[in-house]
Subunit: 141 residues, 3 copies
């Protein structure tokens, strides 16, 4: 088994849920295509944005994710102590740990072996976020 | 270190939370038992069902999970745009990303090294789901 | 690639969210520092406590996590069947599967390659919990 690690720098995105599968493949594609079986681990180095897997076709799904998370984690500063950076501060921490900061996806015959409808989401919870950094680790043979 | 990959096809289940540890072991058991230390990664190739680890004894726990998730992610189509396949469509996407589409479980001395009360759940969020496919990857030595 | 597995025994903590990065490093540090690239998998062998990654500085963040989860998963026994061990029984199962029982963190140049603000949380959901056991697996080279 071999291991290789990559950094992926995502350009700033507006608050919401965004498909980023393509940007990850642009960085790891050459190494991925030579791999028979393995795992691709993707980690986001932030505490106010998350990674998730979901539907890769209809943009309404990403819209509805944002709507739901805003209802489930309300932006009411009276509920929180940690509000220095505004009403989207603590809620971003909570949302990101509910969704999680990392994914592991199987690699089979040179490609990410997701289901046909699955894609990788950047879940951006801040109103004015900067660049987001990912560490991607490929293991396999 | 070695790596081996398996496909597990789960028969259609009714909506709810289901213990599937046994079905995974039926597929990987022979390879698992020969492994001293490693990791077992389990991935579900769908966007409306999830995987989770929780209590493996009392069926009431699985029932209460279903009750809670129905309350936390309400089936009210007025809240969502993506409703083409019915009121359980968008909610299934949301529930599955909250719970997650993959698990990694340590392997020690030939067995899944979970706690004594832990089991693997299929979290089926659709009213009329079909077969669900898992990709299981064993790494270790 | 090599693999090494460790057990980490966490002393009982009060209900709430606790930073435990230091305790994990105390166990794996010598092996971690010799690793160029790899992955660190951390697994909690319980169904009423979870692991998460979030902000490692302001204690108010951990306080607000507890507040939010108590609101999102209400301790109202009329909502649940599985209540034998008290009002914090079923809610602990639900909270732990929402947050998850495991983390995988990239290892780069001998250290956990988290963001500067990230730390590992033990999410203790029971009112009177005992010792919590972790299985930590390092893979890499």
């Amino acid at each position: 088994m071999n291991i290789k690690q990559f950094e992926v720098r995502l350009r700033p995105r507006p608050r919401g849920f965004h498909l980023i599968t393509r940007e990850i493949l642009d960085v790891i594609g050459d190494d991925l295509s030579g791999m028979s079986h393995g795992l691709c681990h993707i980690f986001i180095q932030h505490t106010s944005a998350a990674l998730a897997i979901n539907e890769n076709a209809d943009p309404d799904v990403r819209h509805d994710f944002e709507t739901h998370f805003n209802r489930m984690v309300p932006e009411d500063t009276s509920l929180y102590r940690h509000t220095l950076e505004g009403p989207d501060d603590m809620t971003s921490h909570i949302k990101s740990s509910i969704l999680g900061h990392e994914l592991t996806i199987p690699v089979s015959r040179g490609r990410l072996n997701m289901g046909i409808w699955q894609g990788v989401y950047l879940c951006e919870h801040r109103n004015a976020a900067g660049t987001r950094n990912l560490v991607v680790t490929l293991t396999g043979e």
